[in-house]
Amino acid sequence: MARDPEQLLYADSHEWVDVQDTDGGKVAVIGISAFAVEQLNDLVYMDLPDVGRELAAGDEFGEVESVKAVSPMYSPVAGEVLEVHADLPDSLDGLNDDPYDFGWIIKVKMNGDVPASLLDHAAYQKQCSEAG
């Protein structure tokens, strides 16, 4: 089922997060927004964390690179890295085309609440339009 960008939460550093309730607790699926992908322009490389790494909310979990820029990616939530999208670095065109479904980057088993500082879609759009 396609993920609806309007239903997601966003960090002001341009990551989206989809919080899912599972048997094992809350799992956050994390990616970067279409706006970020467009700003970065022609992605060439992505550095992903190891599964099992503990992240605090706001910790850098990886990097995404275009030809002449490198941007850190920050985890919007705290938890343990459950899964990484290992094929993504080799198919970055897919991230360009479909940042919300094919383009998921990591899944985090959350060990806290969803931070209140995360933006809803409308608020995030407003931030992007001001930046752009």
């Binding site: 060439v44 490389y45 690179e65 275009s66 002449k68 820029a69 490198v70």
Partner: protein, 463 residues
């Protein structure tokens, strides 16, 4: 003025176009009067080409050099022969007056040279990938350590040995001083070998740095050390001698992860220490952490094969406050010289150069062994360097005597012996390091030994 252009007429027209009365007015509009220099700079007067050439030619002639003296100095910089083609190519203005290839379309010459250089270095080292050069052997060794620390982020120990080049260790110590890393310098054994470092490798070790052949000319057990490091999850950095690879196994064939070298020996002038060439190659899977510029192959909009600077996001000026390297520029002109040099030698020329060094070194060792005054410290295999002890314990006097006789006889190791992280161990007291390249002849070697033997000994040598 020597290289300036503007006639008075040009100046007037230019100022007119700008709408200023004088250059001083332009300056006054920007530079506060309070900080302007109100007097001329106190520098030697301008000198024309004739007089400067005369003066500096005379000054140059007062220096001993490998042209006026026979050179047995080594220690990381060597008097190898430089074929005429190397100077001829490198003196083309299209190479030496161009800059970093920011515009690939008008820099294909330099970019292809960089790509070819990188390929030559991978062939030389047996490792998967090379950068386009670093500053010199010492900073290359240090950069390799920084690279290892960036890869092994959860480890904070660096292990090296007291027979790694003292300058390389001193550089490393200066770089690591302000960061939270433990530098362990393991004493070598009596044979001048670093094998004891194996016992120091532990789970906290990010990397080991060895030199092979080491500073005192000994061949290290690189493969065993690399295997021990790998076992502990640490990386192995080998500082190698490029010429020695005409005969010795390549770093990549010994299990080394990162190989670095001083590339001066590959066609670059001694120039009292620089500019030199820092060589660095590594395993292919470590390329994202490799510092320095890299040229890569691609195609242009018409599908034509061409070359560009690539993987630039590794570079420090882009990473800014997340940099893990200090390298910004590189040494393309010296990389060019080394590429020409390696092209001229080819595999067989490199092998013969190494073999010539080995044969002449063996002969020199035999000559020293036949002298009562001298002791060759470590018998056994060596490529182009070995340590000699002066049983009269006057190495300084010996070297002075030799240089006055037209021979640069060796590096006096006494000033390098001590107990800091960059010192050599006590066993090298009263010793000197002799380097023999393919340029030395039988008669030069004989003359070296004769000259040293004939030097006056101290009145009362130590017991």
């Amino acid at each position: 003025m020597s290289y300036l252009f503007h006639t008075e007429e040009d100046r007037a027209e230019m100022l007119g176009s700008i709408g200023a009365e004088s250059v001083q007015q332009l300056l006054d509009a920007q530079v506060p009067a309070s900080v302007q220099l109100k007097r001329p700079l106190k520098l030697p007067a301008a000198t024309d080409e004739i007089n400067l050439t005369r003066e500096l030619t005379q000054s140059a002639a007062t220096n001993a050099s490998t042209s006026s003296h026979v050179c047995f100095l080594g220690g990381g910089a060597y008097d190898h022969f430089i074929p005429a083609v190397v100077d001829e190519i490198a003196s083309r203005g299209e190479y030496y007056t161009s800059y970093t290839p920011y515009q690939a379309e008008v820099s294909q010459g330099n970019l292809q040279v960089m790509f070819e250089y990188e390929t030559l270095i991978t062939q030389l080292t047996g490792l998967g990938v090379s950068n386009a050069s670093l500053y010199d052997g010492g900073s290359a060794a240090t950069e390799a350590v920084l690279m290892s620390l960036a890869i092994k982020r959860d480890r904070s120990k660096v292990i090296t040995s007291d027979v790694v080049h003292p300058h390389y260790r001193e550089t490393l110590a200066a770089y690591l001083h302000n960061v939270d890393v433990e530098l362990v310098v393991v004493p070598s054994d009596d044979d001048g070998l670093s094998t004891p470092m194996i016992d120091a490798i532990d789970e906290q070790t990010a990397c080991v740095l060895i030199q092979h052949p080491n500073y005192v000319g000994r061949l290290e057990s690189v493969a065993s050390i690399a295997a021990a490091a790998k076992e502990a999850g640490a990386l192995t950095i080998e500082s190698f001698d490029p010429i020695s690879l005409g005969r010795l196994k390549r770093p990549g064939d010994l299990g080394v992860d990162i190989a670095v070298a001083e590339g001066q020996c590959l066609g670059n002038p001694l120039a009292y220490g620089g500019p030199y060439l820092g060589i660095m190659a590594c395993r292919e899977d470590l390329v994202r952490r490799l510092p320095g510029r890299i040229a890569g192959q691609t195609t242009d909009r018409r599908g034509k094969r061409c070359w560009v600077l690539t993987l630039q996001t590794r570079e420090q000026h882009i990473r800014r406050d997340k940099a893990t390297s200090n390298i910004c520029s590189n040494q393309t002109l010296l990389a060019l010289r080394s590429s020409v040099y390696l092209s001229l030698l080819g595999p067989h020329g490199l092998r013969e150069t190494a073999d010539q060094c080995i044969a002449k070194l063996s002969y020199a060792k035999e000559c020293f062994e036949a002298c009562e005054r001298f002791e060759v410290l470590h018998p056994g295999a060596a490529v182009k360097e070995f340590v000699v002890r002066d049983l009269s314990a006057d190495v300084g006097g010996l070297m002075d005597h030799a240089s006055q006789s037209g021979v640069l006889a060796g590096i006096n190791l006494d000033p390098l012996v001590g107990d800091s992280t960059s010192s050599l161990p006590d066993r090298y007291q009263h010793c000197f390091l002799v380097a023999v390249t393919e340029q030395r002849t039988r008669s030069e070697i004989q003359s070296l030994v004769r000259t040293l033997e004939s030097a006056p000994a101290l009145a009362s040598p130590p017991t």
